[in-house]
């Protein structure tokens, strides 16, 4: 059984442009092939508009491919069957799932009940993750009063409290200070190691990419220009892509 398998995955969008009669067709993803067979941390990298978020949406089943196929745990994500949904978690750096008027515990407790875990287990897991994330003292504060870093931490807790086998994160550290960013990187690493879960994330931050990546997928204008091990990527030196050259130079600068 593969964890993720994408075959010739295409996705295009039609956009209405002001003043133009015909809709503009944009190829967001073009013949993407990807196979993940064992638990790993896959980082999807690319410039803005490269197709990273579109690929995550396809993996989550929020949109359907125009052609080609994507399977997660050998299932079509777009079917959104219960077994699939119970095995995934999702965090967006730019979208909130917690109720702003209530405490993180209230929101997370109710949302977790739908994953067939008992109240006792929810409370136990919540307390454990609050300790790990160092947010124990903020768990009873209304979400709207929390800082961005604290909110993201609680959003991650909400997404992993049911211990999903695969966790999708779309730019989870966007806008965070370096301390919060570091702590989230550590937490994700620990979660991956302790639970043997797969993590798929998109990020523009070199620190996230360097610290987390085991597998790498680089997208450029909807095309896959690198797919494989992160270490192999670091050791390879034969790409003609301008993006890859710049990206490598950024990675080197960070050292």
């Amino acid at each position: 059984m593969s964890i993720i398998r994408a075959q010739n995955l295409n996705r295009s969008f039609s956009i209405k442009v002001k003043g133009q009669k015909d809709k503009l067709s944009i190829q967001a993803l073009d013949k993407i092939n990807l196979v993940v067979t064992k638990p790993t941390i896959l980082t999807i990298v690319g410039a803005n508009g490269a197709g990273k978020t579109t690929l995550i949406k396809l993996m989550l089943g929020l949109i359907k491919p125009t052609s080609g196929k994507i399977l997660v745990f050998d299932q079509l994500p777009e079917k959104r069957n219960q077994a699939y949904l119970k095995n995934i978690g999702f965090v967006s750096g730019q979208k909130r799932i917690l109720n702003q008027d209530l405490t993180p515990f209230d929101s997370i407790y109710v949302s977790s009940l739908f994953y067939d875990i008992s109240s006792d287990e929810i409370i136990k897991n919540f307390d454990y993750f609050c300790d790990v994330f160092s947010v124990q003292h903020r768990k009873n504060v209304p979400v709207r009063k929390l800082s961005l870093g604290e909110t993201i931490k609680f959003e991650i807790i909400a997404s992993i409290i049911h211990k999903p086998k695969i966790l999708f994160l779309d730019e989870p550290t966007i806008g965070l200070d370096f301390e919060a960013q570091e702590s989230i990187i550590e937490i994700l690493k620990t979660y991956h190691e302790q639970n043997q879960s797969t993590i798929v994330l998109t990020s523009h931050y070199i620190k996230d990419i360097k610290s987390l990546s085991k597998e790498l997928l680089i997208l450029e204008k909807g095309n896959s220009i690198y797919s494989g091990s992160y270490l192999n990527f670091l050791n390879s030196n034969n790409s003609n892509s301008e993006f890859i050259k710049k990206f490598k130079s950024e990675l080197n600068k960070y050292d």
Partner: protein
Amino acid sequence: MTEIIKYERILGKTLYKWFALLYLHFKSFANYRVNIVSYLFSQFLTIAGTLIIWYYSISNGVESIEFKEIVSYYLIGQIFLIKITPQWSISEDIQYGNFSNKLLKPESVWISYIVEDLGVNLFTNFIKIILSVAVALIFFSYIVLPSNPLTYLLFLVSILLAFIISILINFIFSFITFYVVNSHGILELLGQAQRFFSGWLFPLDIISLTRIFTFLPFAFTYYYPVQIFLERQTIEQSVQNLGFGFLSIFILFFVCHSIYHNGLKQYESIGL
């Protein structure tokens, strides 16, 4: 939320999770006391204003209905017909991409919106009922109660139908957002249509022109249930109308289902 954990054993797992979701949204609404007090005054003004307008209209020449009948017609509807308004949150969620959060949860999207809305509206429905009962007590001699016990049963069925039809109509209008992106105007139209075509503003049969609206599904959400309670129809007519109500549910469900599933194909989950 620890205050409700004790109900988990009593309700069982499935029912408890929906109860917890309802309670969460009730709690979220109940956080804002100024909002609650404002709602109380707004309901009071609506009820008092409506009755005053009718009192003066009937005193000054509207002959097709008596004030006594209007008091019953209006208050019975206010007390027994539940306010449900999920259209605003559904539409906003679709427009701004937050609908994805619902799609990614292992729960029924439709039921979850209904339960959340019931939670949010629990207090407002409670205030509406309490105020209407208080006014009904003042006008008690005006309230017409059913003489036939069977009427109560038919009324109960009609309330259930009204609830389901209201939800389906709300869903259909909110799912239009999948196709038009911003549907605030459409939802405003829905709000006015609900008031006008349902018989909330006035009984649809008092003006011959508006009788045509009794053929629309909106009429099952207010006009028909109150007509049944006030025994303004024979038992046979009531049963027949309930039959049409059930038929409306099937048609509306089919429309709703197809708008929803075709809409999902267009959904782009903005900002993920």
